[in-house]
Symmetry: C2
Subunit: 491 residues, 2 copies
Amino acid sequence: MLQSIEARTGNAVGERWAESTPSEIDAAVAAAASAADAFAATSASRRAGLLRGLASVLEAERESLVALADRETGLGLPRLNGELDRSTFQLRGFADVLEGGGAHTVIDDKAVAGAPPSGRPRLTRVRVPLGPVAMFSASNFPFAFSVLGGDTASALGAGCPVVVKAHPAHPELSRRTAALALRVIAAQGLPVGVFQFVQGGSIDVGVALVKATAIAAVAFTGSFKGGTALARIAGERARPIPFFGELGSVNPLVVLPAALEKNGVELAGTLAQSICVGAGQFCTSPGVILVLQDAAGDAFVQALAAALRDLKPHAMLSATIRATFERGVAQWRNASRLKPLVDDAGDASAAAPRPFLAETLAADFIDDHALHEEVFGCAALVVRVASIDEAVEVLKAIGGSLTVTLWGADQDAEPTRRLVRTAMQVAGRVLFSGVPTGVAVTAAQHHGGPFPASTQPFTTSVGYAAMDRFLRPVALQDAPAWLLDRQGVPA
Amino acid sequence: MLQSIEARTGNAVGERWAESTPSEIDAAVAAAASAADAFAATSASRRAGLLRGLASVLEAERESLVALADRETGLGLPRLNGELDRSTFQLRGFADVLEGGGAHTVIDDKAVAGAPPSGRPRLTRVRVPLGPVAMFSASNFPFAFSVLGGDTASALGAGCPVVVKAHPAHPELSRRTAALALRVIAAQGLPVGVFQFVQGGSIDVGVALVKATAIAAVAFTGSFKGGTALARIAGERARPIPFFGELGSVNPLVVLPAALEKNGVELAGTLAQSICVGAGQFCTSPGVILVLQDAAGDAFVQALAAALRDLKPHAMLSATIRATFERGVAQWRNASRLKPLVDDAGDASAAAPRPFLAETLAADFIDDHALHEEVFGCAALVVRVASIDEAVEVLKAIGGSLTVTLWGADQDAEPTRRLVRTAMQVAGRVLFSGVPTGVAVTAAQHHGGPFPASTQPFTTSVGYAAMDRFLRPVALQDAPAWLLDRQGVPA
């Protein structure tokens, strides 16, 4: 059963309702499949119109949606208004890309007379929508990574119907948002199968969706455990399908001496804020801080601990997420080679957690694989390194992350260059200033990275390249004029 | 043990030698890993020089290589000379792309002042080489899909060291080619780890390679069975890696009335040749021929059968492949709802097979999943369809193929449009004239397609986009001037 829960109090609000039954899931998938051909054949500008319509309805209903989101997630009105802005910006950004022709980049190689290999037929490379996409909403961004978030926007933009699996941590907001989406789709005269919606707190709903024969791809943002389990199911289907999973990350941040010389205390404050923003419930939350073992490093760690001690994170998204955080921190607390620096257990049963920070040495961190796993929430590990080369080894041990942040790499020098090279091997995004929390929606963005950050490290779930996940290349050989014309290619 | 076998006679030639031991495989992977950083840092023009050097050495040694390939594969001198031409064209084509800057396409989004979502930091999207690639050679193209074929060329072009797993059906040619490659690498002053070589007839060698921790991706061309088994292993690693597998295909070809009106008999002859070229040992060999149930269709099928009966395919690549073909044909021969049209068993133990053609009805084909599987060799099924819409259903049942060929789709009409749309959903390449055997090396080419044609349908193993498989995007946020400079981006 589903139930809307007030995040700050744990109180149930309103009625309980049933999760989607197997036959409802089948019907949702069947509706999406039956709409796929017609939707694939729509023009880019028609799909742009759909995305703009969805953005408009979110804005029109802003007040009630944000209030409801706040009740169910506890993330606060300023953040949630900003997140709604980001979602409408994203929907309109994809619309801009579609209107600019970006979804259908074509390579047209004219025929060359003569024998192969230099002689060739005409080959025209186009892209076709994959088909119905199963979209798994995340708990931590009730707008930007949920029902009408980036995955839905990019799949619809590509011409793929979407079957949304709502996140049970904000069920009422999800069904309200879905109802608005269906209103827009009806008003625009599109088939209802373009947008379908299922709900469920149990694993069965997601599994049924990933196994459904007509589903052509899965977009997922969530936990390592859930994501890898579903990815395996997607791979074991009679016809495996792409599973675009963003599974979170420890987001190492390396503090080099050059950064501390300038403004170490200020940076410590900035970092503490980034660790605790949204109660640490960001995929890009910095979880491993690499600091040199020197006096400036000691001072920075002290300043970071002091800044963190002063912060009061707000309530977490749900009691389950809160309990998982507490378990993660308890593991760190009991790890023999970790020294807690900030550890005010407070009331472990309260919805709002207390920040946690501990310190360890590079060699101990590298040895203990359990420490490489994300603790989702306002907790971080400081890893003290003897040298930049040891920092390189720590990054290599982590292996895959959405982001790596390097503070103080402004000057070209050999060890820095090695560090940058390693960061680029390990991460989908490498930052040289600022904090990793906050992901700009733009063409150059890449929100992905080597496993476990992403199950498909070549793809991004944020930014305009996100649409590439749902458009498969096809080469047309000696295509007739009428077909080229329909693809917008001069005959 | 490995042994060079004369394809036409089955006779052993020369010494036997041992397959690579686990420690030799480890050493090859370790050498590749140790070369990865330095090779990734080479300039595109340096890598272009390597590819040109490899092309030159193939040409310089053409006579002996082609003679050896002919002995081990039985494919004949004209075809093998052509295939060597294609391989050198391919190596030089990738070199051209590198010199034109195509491997390092950059998107540079300048910073925008103001609050998010419209305000943003500077984001520069670049691409980085993945790291060591395990490359599995195919049996059927001893140059173009083997040691220095397209996978090796594209991985080296991308800046990834390659560990080649030779195909045991042409072991002597493989080790000779590898020795030439190593000579070029030494002459160009590149680390020996850039190109490593392992050999083995047993499954263990390939499994060890896919499991090796330092391997970052696998490129594979081969059987469905071997490919899906290795893909699973790649996905079950502690850190899963991309498995770019091209697993072959039934390559449906649809003959529409408009094509038969013009030149049905000539087309039947062309198709027969395509079914038998290289004894049918092409990934793109047409294996399912869809023909309408009308008089023109009957005449076409008769002409196709007659043309096939006259053909004498050459010896197959190996006794194993020959025996597998015989088993596949036997299954078809015994299928109750298939009517054999061309079935001269000949001497089932001879190296050269006899063409096989059978006919069935669409409904029977759709029902029997065993018929959707490729029989590798000069065999095809004619599927008679009552209408174009029934042809659509047959294509949907096949589901994934490297190619679909549509003859007679020159005019825009509603059922044709549905057929074209379905073909584009099912295939990586859709042809409107000619035959699918023969894959041009060009920017627009796409040699892939929905599963089982490819395990990564967004990628191609032929054409210049093949390099994309080995270059992962990374977004640099507020990158320092020195780094942008190294990436060739104006600060």
